[in-house]
């Protein structure tokens, strides 16, 4: 019986680059496979997809896949994405950002993209740490834990990325973990189809750095932790704030309608353009 070909091969750039640079058990690869799977299911043309990242371990994703790919500067992926979508609205524009990328240095672009509502599907790979630079605290690092830049424990509370996106105005906000792959697929699918600024927080594991300070030794432990600490949106509604303390609420958190920026701009063009 012949060797079965993994679906990803239809989308990978060249096997020379593999195995990829991510550490054993790192969650980024799990997300990458899910993204490819959903794109494949929807039969989007590779030519129409633009995949944009910032800088970080997650920022290395685009180089592996055969789309129009763009590895930008740290924190700024959404600014490039905005330009691309407005310049050619036919393109399906996707950003992949790390937690540091999206909400540390890139926090301003993150909230403005959510507000402005340009149709971009954004995925924040939240591993609660700066992976690429060696395990420093990020704005999503839990309070109190010890990191490379917080040897006495992190004194800062963490952001809730989804609440921030919601408060800023994103029309679709959702959360999954890389453990919950099927949910992840569904959320990616919804985000890719949303006409407007869609944000999915993907809770992931940095096995090399975050495992250490979260006192979870192996990738498996970290994924078990994701499994055991997650609560679906539906269940969460029936729980008290205290019960939800420290839990990961997964599922669709916001799904609302608002005309996207580029739709409105297209109407403006239809009205004003003299050519």
């Amino acid at each position: 019986m012949r060797q079965t070909e993994h679906l990803v091969h239809k989308y990978l750039r060249s096997s020379k680059r593999f195995p990829h640079i991510w550490c054993a058990g790192c969650g980024i690869g799990i997300f990458m496979q899910a993204l490819i799977r959903v794109i494949d299911q929807n039969e989007y043309s590779k030519d129409d997809i633009v995949l944009i990242s910032g800088i970080g371990c997650s920022g290395r994703l685009p180089v592996y896949v055969d789309f129009n790919t763009l590895h930008t500067t740290h924190g700024r992926a959404l600014t490039f994405a905005t330009g691309i979508k407005l310049a050619n609205p036919r393109l399906k524009v996707i950003t992949v950002m790390g937690d540091g990328d999206a909400v540390a240095i890139g926090g301003n672009h993150f909230i403005h993209a959510a507000r402005r509502n340009v149709e971009i599907a954004s995925f924040v790979l939240n591993n609660s740490v700066y992976g690429m630079t060696g395990g420093q605290s990020s704005p999503t690092t839990p309070y109190g834990v010890i990191t490379a830049s917080a040897p006495y424990g992190n004194l800062e509370p963490d952001f809730d990325i989804c609440r921030l996106a919601e408060a800023a105005g994103a029309v679709f906000v959702a959360r999954a973990t890389v453990y919950h792959t099927q949910l992840l697929d569904r959320l990616i699918d919804k985000a890719l189809k949303k006409k407007g600024a869609a944000v999915v927080e993907v809770v992931s594991q940095c096995t090399t750095y975050a495992g250490h300070f979260l006192k979870l030794k192996s990738p498996v432990d970290m994924m078990k932790w994701q499994k055991n600490n997650s609560v679906t949106v539906e269940k969460a509604k029936q729980q008290s704030e205290a019960e939800l303390e420290g839990k990961i609420v997964i599922g669709v958190l916001v799904d609302r309608e608002r005309p996207s920026y580029h739709e409105q701009y297209q109407s403006l063009l239809a009205e004003k353009s003299k050519i």
Binding site: I21, C23, G134, T208
Partner: protein
Amino acid sequence: MSNTKVSSLKNPRYEIRIAGAGGQGIILAGIMLAEAGIIQDLCVAQSQSYGPETRGGNSISEVILSNTEIDFPQSTELDVLIALTQVACDRNLPDMKEGGLVIVNSDAVQRVLWDSLVSIPFEEIARKVGETRAVNVAALGSLVPFCPLLDRRALTRAIASRLPSTKLEANLQAFDKALRFARRAKGRLKYAGITEEYEI
């Protein structure tokens, strides 16, 4: 500011490079080696390089030991190369001094075109002592018989200062085993010009 006359080059300067893959503790080994130099009050310079892939890529660590001030702190021609992987061996051979010594990890390096060659099963040794991560310390052990500037006791002290006490015992065992391997190998060496030079 000062305008000094530079001293002669006729000073012994000993260049050691340890090369392998990220995660093999190579940089730590370099630091231990340098620390040994400090303990012996030698002049030392230690440096390293690795690709953007800190994890898993190629990694090297080098130490210059000298009795006098070190002008250029990186290697020019290696006196000793310790190669822990085949790729590391292939990539670093061109930097050898003629007549220099190559020590390879026989568990991972099969082909080497070099005269003055010593092959030691570092991984095997590490497994034997029950601490697979002791490969780097074992590598240091193999240096002792060949490097005249290096004092064994200083080196073990340096190692002790950089390891958690729970791991120390096994690591020192690996160190000793590799040292003994190396001593035996030295006897069989066809040609080891560089080492002779200082071994008086």
